[in-house]
Amino acid sequence: MALDRITLTTFRNHAETWLEGASRFNLLIGENGAGKTNVLEALSLFAPGRGLRRAALPDMAGTQGSGAFAVSALLAFPDNSDPVRLGTAMDPARAGRRIVQVNAAQASAVTLAEWLAISWLTPAMDRLFMESAGERRRYMDRLAVALWPSHVRHASRYQAALRERNRLLTLDAEPEDRWLDAVEAQLAEAGANLVQGRARLVDRLRERLEALPDQPFARPALSHVPGGPLHAEALAEALARNRGRDRAAGRTLIGPHRDELDVSMAGKAIPAALCSTGEQKAMLIAITLAHAELAAGDRPSLLLLDEVAAHLDPLRRAALFDRLRERGAQVWLTGTELAPFADITGEAAVWRVKSGAIERI
């Protein structure tokens, strides 16, 4: 189901890796540095973008090879219609250029998203609730872009307009009000789109999360706290009103760049940052799953969960596996040991990964 007959050719530490007989649950077991996450990264390249490490393509090419890499897989459909062969590679002649093929025909990376949806969670996200608010804003934007691609334009337009306004406010010669009016109009329009996108995202996630029980899997309660008015007109007015204050501060003090994503543990109402590592991980997983469902729509979907079992106690692990079973997505999990996956090994395809080589158990 979903992806199978997967090949990795000179991809990071995998010289030539072949995975066949993939199942609903797929476990990659091995020491740190064995190359488990590399397999997930290779699979993440079947989505548009730079993959789960957001790495540059030349970094993904194996050291022993020609400087190029290739990844391919067969995508099967639940209705048993003809499977599709997906491939992606780096062109060694034009370093940094990604080639994508669908059934051996050249395609653009963007078209991959027409075939399947891929979501992932890696340990790099573990500190999300402890980090600065800016990290959580970026997180919201990334999730929103996966649902509404135009969100990325609003975000970059807003940033550019914000830089313009901040520059205007710090000019030695005070600029005429009309110039500020003009910049603020652009700022307010992009800002309203940006903040509304985030609000819509958090609403949709909350709808899904609220349907879940509080226990045993910690359930996150999300709220989006806007850093300014939600509507363009009101935001423009507020910006105009605040010129004096902002000029004194040397920067813009209201607007979506001051948004916050508040996360707390539902039921106990404890801020996520104060929860245990396991609870934080459980909440991150819950958000990832909720978002993956929203993003997948009716496409086949893939969930790549890197090192998620380690932080969870047995009860939560069991709850996670139950939840994954309810869903249609193909799941790829990594771990250093097989034991934490005891609940699902019976129904899983298990591979042992060692120094970039893979063996089916």
Partner: protein, 198 residues
């Protein structure tokens, strides 16, 4: 390796928009091989541009006559004025005769970060043209970029109070899009569906 002359020419060409050092060297070599043909033609063309081309004092267009052939054309609708950022935008709009009126070239767009202020653009002369009367409609045909739209908004405010209709190209233009890169069909559509500002 190469002579001083070639280096000087390469470095001058490299600064042309869209060229860069690599293409410049290639162009120089190509010209050197055709010293008696293409190079001569290029020299003559450059010389004639230097001799004859002038900026129109009225609209900012570049032409061999002053006022430019557009400003001087009596068949042009003098009651409509289309404001653009650059001459390239004027040419894009005029290539397919999309607009029947006259133009006004600003010479850029407002940008606090690039240090381009209202007084660095031909805005005062635009106000003068409008204040002189005889104009019913000003079409703001700025690029859909942040700077273009900021400039359009600013000019609309400056033109407030004059008895004219101020319109703007219809969006549907790709965000970040520059007029110069749009095909004629898209441009025609943006112009046809122009809407009042404010």
């Amino acid at each position: 390796m190469s002579s001083q002359e070639i280096d000087t020419l390469s470095s001058a060409l490299a600064r042309l928009p869209g060229l860069g050092p690599r293409s410049a060297r290639r162009a120089v070599l190509w010209l050197v091989k055709r010293r008696e043909t293409a190079l001569v033609q290029l020299l003559e063309a450059l010389d004639s541009v230097r001799e004859k081309l002038v900026e129109c004092p009225s609209c900012g267009n570049v032409d061999t006559q002053t006022p430019c052939s557009i400003c001087a054309d009596p068949r042009r609708e003098s009651r409509q004025l289309c404001v653009v950022e650059d001459v390239a935008d004027l040419w894009a709009l005029d290539r397919a005769r999309l607009f029947a009126g006259r133009y006004h070239v600003l010479g850029g767009h407002l940008s606090a970060l690039e240090g381009i202020r209202p007084e660095d653009l031909s805005i005062a002369s635009l106000i003068d043209r409008v204040a002189a009367g005889g104009i019913d409609e000003v079409v703001l045909a700025m690029n859909a970029t942040l700077e273009g739209q900021t400039t359009a908004h600013y000019i609309a405010e400056r033109l407030e109070g004059y008895p004219i209709r101020i319109t703007q190209l219809a969006h549907g233009l790709p965000v970040g899009g520059e007029l110069d890169y749009l095909d004629e069909g898209t441009l025609a559509q943006a112009l046809r569906a122009r809407r009042p500002v404010g």
